[in-house]
Symmetry: C3
Subunit: 201 residues, 3 copies
């Protein structure tokens, strides 16, 4: 595809400031412009693309990322969510203990499954902050993180789980919610490098 | 305005790699180039724009964001700061309790007003870290977060408070510092999608 | 250099939508296109550049940043890592106490030297989480943060220590690992504004 940026594509120098351009014929100058415009096209991010990396396992941060992602999708933008490290917990729907070693089981036991069970980054106070935030959002008719994740998926947001995280933490694909891809850091970079808005959440 | 990017604007394919371009007249090719350059212009972020989302209510993170914002403004860049979630505390100047429900009052009581009262993300130790950081910055003539916020405003930085956060936390506009706008996630995206540098702080 | 973006460079308006362009000769239109393409080139971020700001002193976050940086470098991308605030600890290799005041010594004593001694952002539990994460990564043959930092340097990643942080915390250049530059927020912005992918970690 002509418009896809390959990471590693070197942006060419523009020869406009080089001397001698006026010696070219008009046709040569137009051919050069066509070539350069295509190269610039391939090496610039697209303002209509958004790629968010969800690293944190905190409910309030996941919520902020999901609000941005679903708002962007509703505006017609092309959105990718890449879940890594503790952010993977947002995608966990159930626990599978069989076939895991003791460290994998421990990390599984200590991390929440799904955004509704995650704490908040401030004022957590043994879950009080998280519950209060959820209650206040409910009072004001703001939807929950789990609802926003479903909404994102329905609206064509690309949802990717980090393959290295799954491997290190011993998480199985069947523990995750449906309709997601599994990919690595190179895939993240291919998407982020083409995006106008890139955030680490 | 011709140069404003609308979120959702699809970037067109560049037809340079399509066969048959050499059958066009030179004038047609120039007209096509003009059209494509304008489209590329409208769908690429501007390296001179910076949009920072301040989510965190930690003094050190707010400080980092404000240092980047004021430095960018001093370099002539076009800067937008979007304060959301706990980041709203940076903008709080006084507390208004009347007309708030009990959960809103509690969240108000538990969150600091103004950056000078906020903790730090590491080594907070009941405020010791925050005080020590402030003292060390003062010793080295580095200005405080509240001073940087005033400096940002004086230098034309666009300061936006997230409307959803104000609504969920029951914060009133009169509790915030002067000279700020109130807007939602769509406004954030309109600014961020046009910006070369976008950070979630 | 023609392709370097100076922060503060105003992006020009594209006159394509202005009336009267059809009155220009073809040669004038081509000359205008050449000029505008060069201006657009200078004011758009480059999808092949990545600039990560490492603010956090948490091992898992540093690790995430270093995985992205080394993956990007291996894909041929141009990568800059800017270490500031607690992120500076990733670069600390030894402690020098002489010539520091009491607050500088305290902050030195309380902060780790090198990524291997840093805690994690979640489940730290007095170091248990950090040790477990390291052990699990070792079991799965994922390299450590210190190894990734060396790998980044070997692969041409630009590593910058924030000059303001060194000054405020009283850290001396000889305490940091070799092969790094010291620079301020303006240098960070010069790099970030040219980059497709910018993250605050």
């Amino acid at each position: 595809m002509a418009t896809q940026i390959q990471p590693g594509t070197q942006r060419p120098k523009v020869p406009r400031t080089q001397p001698g351009i006026e010696q070219f014929t008009l046709e040569q100058r137009v051919a050069l412009l066509e070539q350069e415009l295509e190269q610039l096209h391939r090496t610039t991010p697209d303002a209509n693309k958004v790629t968010l990396l969800i690293f944190s396992g905190e409910q309030d941060k996941a919520l902020a990322g999901l609000v941005i992602a679903t708002t962007a999708a509703s505006l017609g933008m092309d959105v990718t969510l890449f879940f890594t490290f503790w952010g993977i917990n947002v995608l966990k729907q159930k626990r599978v203990y069989s076939g895991k070693d003791i460290k994998e089981k421990m990390i599984d036991f200590m991390t929440p499954k799904g955004a509704g069970h995650m704490g908040v980054s401030q004022m957590n106070m043994l879950g009080l902050g998280a519950n209060m935030l959820q209650q206040m959002m409910k009072d004001k008719n703001v939807v929950s993180a789990d609802e926003l994740l479903a909404l994102a998926r329905e609206n064509g947001v690309h949802i990717i789980a980090c393959s290295m995280t799954l491997q290190v933490m011993g998480i199985k694909a069947e523990e995750l919610t449906d309709g997601i891809e599994v990919a690595g850091a190179a895939s993240y970079l291919a998407s982020a490098s083409r995006s106008g808005c890139t955030l680490f959440i």
